[in-house]
Symmetry: C2
Amino acid sequence: MSAKNNLLRRNERGMKIPHFDEIVLGDCTEILKDLPADCVDLVFTSPPYADQRQKTYGGVHPNDYVEWFLPKADQFFRVLKPTGTFILNIKEKVVDGERHTYVMELILEMRKRGWLWTEEFIWHKKNSYPGKWPNRFRDNWERLLQFNKQKQFRMFQEEVMVPVGDWSKTRLSNLSETDKTRDESRVGSGFGKNVSNWVGRNLVYPTNVLHLATESSNQNHSATFPRALPNWFIRLFTQRGDLVLDPFVGSGTTALAAIELGRHYTGIDISKQYVELARERISVAQIRLPHVAEHREKYKTIRKNGAIKGKR
Amino acid sequence: MSAKNNLLRRNERGMKIPHFDEIVLGDCTEILKDLPADCVDLVFTSPPYADQRQKTYGGVHPNDYVEWFLPKADQFFRVLKPTGTFILNIKEKVVDGERHTYVMELILEMRKRGWLWTEEFIWHKKNSYPGKWPNRFRDNWERLLQFNKQKQFRMFQEEVMVPVGDWSKTRLSNLSETDKTRDESRVGSGFGKNVSNWVGRNLVYPTNVLHLATESSNQNHSATFPRALPNWFIRLFTQRGDLVLDPFVGSGTTALAAIELGRHYTGIDISKQYVELARERISVAQIRLPHVAEHREKYKTIRKNGAIKGKR
DNA sequence: GTTCCGCATGAATCGATAG
DNA sequence: ACTATCGATTCATGCGGAA
């Protein structure tokens, strides 16, 4: 079943699923009520972090964050398939010299409401925001909390395997081919799946620590996470044709990652500006998609020749 | 004031401080009652993690972990100087497919009892335990929770600056880290001093993500964290002559780090075997200290020559 | 004395088996 | 049903032997 056939995707009871491959304007708590239960394969989102400045857009005071978030989490729970996964990218702010506790309280409350806190991944941000403070170093990591509805969930570990010695190339420094593959895997945007075709061997499973640089090139919006982040989790927890939901879709990075991986998406944001930006980026990306596919073929040929030449 | 003069160190009221530069056998909750209040500059410890096998040595069931730990945390709070810091190395176990919540609950409870949760460092364990499971990747990180008694605490950021240069930028930082650790294992001293010897390099402040491998080759005991870990925090939060406390000292790694950095130590452990092992390792280290200093000079010469050769 | 390679070794986790 | 034990899985690292 191709993605095209699924544009009129219906759920188990034959009802059309609203907001399929759309970026929707509104509060996700309300919008998600249009979705039937158990229809989403992966919820991946990076909500606006708690903010002391209550007047700022999206700003929720840390003390109100859990209360603000829980009704939304309830909706995520409802629309998520039993075998699906919820990945929450979040980090606690420093408030009055302390790390705030809203993330921990959120986890505890979500567990009371039926969520399983399966795992916590660490995103090691290799290029963090510069700065210096007398009693604190730069914050170089964020949490990626994994929640599930049940102990049995779908996970496709082979899709995210990485070349050996990815982050510590103390050995095997001789192999130029390995180096090339390693560089390509670091880009991690859509091509990661091809890595298994190229090498086939020397692949190992990753760990729960992800090393990715933030994307500094995008100037249209702040707080952008790299596309490689949703890309990685989409490959890990979904298959082609599955549905990915981002209820705080922002500039659309999650939707773009879903598109380039052949997954369906539903993106929601309460900001009209962000919705327009996300739609714009998606339309541009979809126009480019054939070009990308063509380019990928070219690149594969180049790679093969390069690999043959490179043999020593 | 040298360490020798401080062997009869007395507190502000002229009372001798018990257990100064000693490894003490017993339950730290009781032992610490011998210490006066506000005398410790840094508490660094890695307690036995929650263990389901309650009958095993050191095993505390995850559900009982917070209750078990809190009385000890109260003592740490009492003996710690107002400007001091408490670093807790801990990680939650997987129980029934979920990450257990005892760490979060512990943080919340400690805050209720006066602790400030200032920061959370991530220890990226580059060599984690192997294994493969259908629903989980290998666990590659642990928490290093920083607690303080007040917002103003002592921190010497310059002491842990790391060199960044053209060579260390292109070459992976992992590799240089390995070199440093290797230096340490060969020479027997902290790599911090070696770093300061690397003149002419640009020094930058580190972040809150630490990349260190566990020490797996040590056969005398299990569960060893690398000496570089306490070493780093001791340099960051104390000065020469200060007092470092490890209430779960185990094989004595924290005490060894304190000694090599010219800090005083108090180590406590409830296991007679561990106490004996720690005392043995410390006595060996102290005997070797002069020899090490001599060897270090030799090694520096070797290094220099190697560096000249190695320049590309 | 240097580099290279083989090998043992982990703060683990799951699922099956046994009591 | 519930708990305790055991085997299988897997890879970065340090150490020691060899060239």
